[in-house]
Amino acid sequence: MFCERAMELVRELHRAAEGRLPAFNEDGLRQVLEEMKALYEQNQSDVNEAKSGGRSDLIPTIKFRHCSLLRNQRCTVAYLYDRLLRIRALRWECGSVLPSALRFHMSAEEMEWFNHYKKSLATYMRSLGGHEGLDITQDMKPPKNLYIEVRCLKDYGEFEVDDGTSVLLKKNSQHLLPRWKCEQLIRQGILEHVLS
């Protein structure tokens, strides 16, 4: 049946858990494009037959192939765009440097898209207000406490706090730190918010 490969691409993303980015299915995409090429060429020759040879009985087949072509296009674009949305979400969750495990799953063009998006977002954020702008990828949750108790999950090293003093973040050490400073590190998995 036509469009099976295209449907597989869509199903692959549908199966992936919310937000997860599976490896880019280059083979699958290539096979869909090949099927489209074959369908189009078959249609071209049939259209010529129908016009010059008067074979109007070919018309239903031509229409059917055209529908398959449209479906292939739609599934392909849906697959590619949904991946872009997941990649976009990564910027907001992981920051501007992606973990290498995820980068492995992205194609070179997706990486390029991501870099353009990052740049666009940075330009926008810098333009906010009059001075250095506002980093709106911070402050994702309403602030409850000024300081929060955090436990360090991995060795991180020196970490500078507001008034110039610095704190040594060693694995398993616990600290009382300003909430907004810790947000980024909590998201990266270096610190853990301790709820007593």
Binding site: L33, M36, Y40, L84, T123, S127, L134, I136, L146
Partner: protein, 223 residues
């Protein structure tokens, strides 16, 4: 509390009217804009004057805090207030960006067909961001797939492919200014349209499309 910090009132830079807001009123306006944007299904008119004034306010507060004595209780409380304001502002701007990205072809089309003098939904920076997002995505789709497809399938009409905001979704609102004779259109063929009055202070659950102009004018507040 903010009186102690000796902040000046803010002037709107819109040019046509001089509006002086106290800091408390400014934060109120920000919170109203934030709630409206959160609950409205479509992108609302941009309020960059509020954004600019709030950022200036945060700047003032930060400078004052730096000059204040360390360990003073006032410092913690003001810092807390600053964090709350920063959260609301960030959340507001994030909400707008999310909608811009979600409906990007429609947002840009609306901007393109906007008449002279009509207020824009997008700030100049948001417009630039939207254009870049569209160009980036179109280029990507073209290079990775579309240009390898048969000649008659190399274009995708983004205005048809990307869904529009659902203006028929229901929203909660509180009435700030009394409204009379609001026409409520029927949803199904069996219903007929009818007219309602909105009393000041009353709360309603209603289709967004019916009251969209009232949100823009400030006559109702989405909650």
């Amino acid at each position: 509390m903010t009186e102690e910090l000796d902040l000046p009132g803010q002037d709107s830079d819109a040019g046509s009217e001089e509006v002086v807001l106290t800091p408390a009123e400014l934060i109120d306006r920000l919170e109203q804009a934030w709630m409206n944007e959160k609950f409205a299904p479509e992108l609302l008119e941009n309020k960059s004057e509020i954004v600019e004034c709030v950022m200036e306010q945060l700047q003032h507060m930060e400078e004052n805090l730096r000059r204040a004595k360390k360990g003073d209780l006032k410092v913690s409380i003001h810092q807390m207030e600053m964090e709350r304001i920063r959260f609301v502002l960030s959340s507001y701007l994030r909400c707008r960006l999310t909608k811009i990205e979600k409906f990007f072809p429609h947002v840009l089309e609306k901007e393109k067909t906007r008449r002279e003098g009509e207020p824009s939904c997008l700030s100049p920076e948001e417009c630039a961001f939207a254009r870049e997002y569209m160009a980036n995505t179109e280029t990507y789709l073209k290079n990775v797939a579309l240009k390898h497809m048969p000649p008659n399938l190399q274009k995708v009409d983004l205005l048809r492919a990307v869904p529009k905001p659902d203006l028929d979704s229901y929203v909660f609102l509180r009435v700030k200014e009394r409204q009379e004779n609001i026409l409520v259109e029927p949803e199904t063929d069996e219903q007929r349209d009818y007219v309602i009055d909105l009393e000041e202070g009353s709360q309603h659950l209603i289709r967004y499309k019916t009251i969209a102009p009232l949100v823009a004018s400030g006559a109702v507040q989405l909650i």
